[in-house]
């Protein structure tokens, strides 16, 4: 008889990693979206509804969305490296891609917002207690409008990984937060873009809350040498697909 494996030496991370594996075995997620109640991400315990969502047809209002335009966004908002008098530290990158609806149509002239940690993994936010340096030349917030092809483009600094308090020795893989609107209120999306090849993916409850592997891949940008700008910045491509169809006016025959 072989002895039971020693309980000592199992870290809190091991337990979370086990919980991540278990959660991935339950039913596939609709649309690849995470379940709101996801045990490995502990803050979901008290913040996810316990009642099922109530199914309702989108109202006419919810089939439309706010409109943003040139007056909402300054041209420099898309370059996060020029918001100060000096150059931020870190690896300069270009992040670009297209925003599409599920039919593959470009989402034109809509607002894309990003926010992120600096190269050291520190947010310019009072609540961030990570003892990594702030960068006086980097705030980490940016905005742009998609063009007629649905394309957005940001110049920024590659964010660092950072620790968080979910469990002992928990680290977030490097990521950029994205906020997007479609042409219907129901298409709203807030998500995170990750960088290829990160060793922290399998250990991270937020990335892993998306349990389907193909859906996980949709969160990861692709290094693209054609996007890379010689002598200046590495390039990443990341396309975003919004839920639901674009808002189409109701067919008068069907009303």
């Amino acid at each position: 008889m072989s002895p039971a494996p020693p309980e000592r030496g199992r870290s809190e991370q091991d337990e979370v990693t086990d919980a991540i594996r278990e959660a991935a075995l339950v039913a596939p997620q609709r649309g690849g979206h995470p379940d709101r109640a996801y045990a490995p991400y502990r803050s979901t315990a008290l913040r996810s509804p316990s009642q099922p969502l109530v199914v309702a047809p989108a109202s006419l209002l919810e089939q439309t969305a706010p409109v943003f335009g040139a007056k909402d966004v300054a041209a420099t908002d898309a370059d996060l490296t020029v918001h100060s008098t000096g150059e931020p530290l870190g690896e300069r990158i270009v992040v670009t891609g297209r925003v599409l609806d599920r039919d593959g149509r470009p989402v034109r002239n809509q607002l894309v917002e990003v926010w992120q940690a600096n190269a050291s993994g520190r947010y310019a936010h009072d609540g961030d207690r990570h003892p990594a340096p702030l960068d006086p030349h980097f705030t980490g917030g940016g905005r742009c409008l998609t063009d007629d092809d649905g394309r957005y483009r940001f110049v920024t600094i590659k964010p660092g990984a950072y620790p968080w308090r979910n469990h002992h020795n928990a680290w977030r893989p490097a990521h950029i937060h994205f906020s997007l609107f479609g042409t219907a209120f129901t298409q709203r999306l807030v998500t995170q873009m990750y960088f290829p090849g990160d060793q922290l993916f399998a250990l991270d409850p937020i990335f892993s809350s998306v349990t389907d592997e193909k859906a996980q891949q949709r969160l990861i940008a692709r290094y693209d040498h054609d996007t890379t700008v010689a002598e200046w910045a590495l390039g990443y491509q990341w396309d975003i697909v919004l839920d639901g169809p674009g808002a189409t006016p109701p067919d008068p025959d069907e009303v």
């Binding site: 609709r30 996801y38 209002l61 940690a117 980490g140 859906a215 639901g244």
Partner: protein, 194 residues
């Protein structure tokens, strides 16, 4: 062609310099005739305030028209864009200043504000609606309100209260537990979009 959607991820705790903007809750400027405050507290399953939530509101104007007008982020002080975005404060409270929406022509629903709730610990945003009690007949005929048990429908109703002496409404959001807000799985022609 049907593409698979990009999965949602939590807004996290550090959205402060990415999403909120000056005047985000001022759908109309102070002193606007007919302006109301809409305010409330976001609470978790233990009843504790949620200080790191973000709420967005989208609505028609008092005439029932849905604005298709830029200028929500940099407001000009006179155009009604119908969009508000506010973070909760340390006490989990939010407030916006707006006008009550009128009935949208052709809409089966009573006048309402569409609401999106984001928070740290919420992996996918939640949709809900704010209705107003004075539209008695329209509310009684509203397909959503009329299909809900009374105590659940009540979670979608703004409660009139004076706030700083002016006309105001309270709309609390309970993410979980007793009095849990009704959250919506909104269906459009192509199916569920949650």
């Amino acid at each position: 062609m049907t593409l698979d959607p990009s999965p949602s991820q939590t807004v996290g705790p550090f959205f402060a310099f990415g999403l909120p903007f000056d005047g985000g809750g001022d759908v109309v400027p102070p002193g606007t005739a007919g302006a109301i405050s809409l305010h409330g507290t976001v609470r978790d399953g233990a009843g504790a305030p949620v200080p790191d939530a973000l709420l967005e509101f989208w609505q028609a104007g008092p005439d029932g028209r849905i604005a298709a007008r830029a200028g929500s982020l940099v407001r000009d002080g006179r155009s009604f864009t119908g969009f508000a975005r506010v973070p909760t404060d340390r006490s989990g409270d939010y407030v916006i200043r707006t006008l009550r929406p009128g009935p949208v022509a052709g809409s089966a629903e009573a006048p309402h504000l569409a609401v999106t709730v984001f928070a740290r610990g919420l992996l996918h945003h939640l949709f809900t609606r704010v209705y107003f009690p004075n539209h008695t007949e329209a509310n009684a005929a509203d397909p959503l309100l009329s299909a809900l048990p009374e105590e659940r429908a009540a979670t979608l109703m703004a409660i009139p209260d004076g706030w700083f002496g002016g006309p105001g409404y309270r709309f609390d959001v309970r993410l979980q537990g007793p009095g849990e807000t009704v959250f919506l799985d909104l269906i459009s022609e192509a199916g569920a979009v949650r």
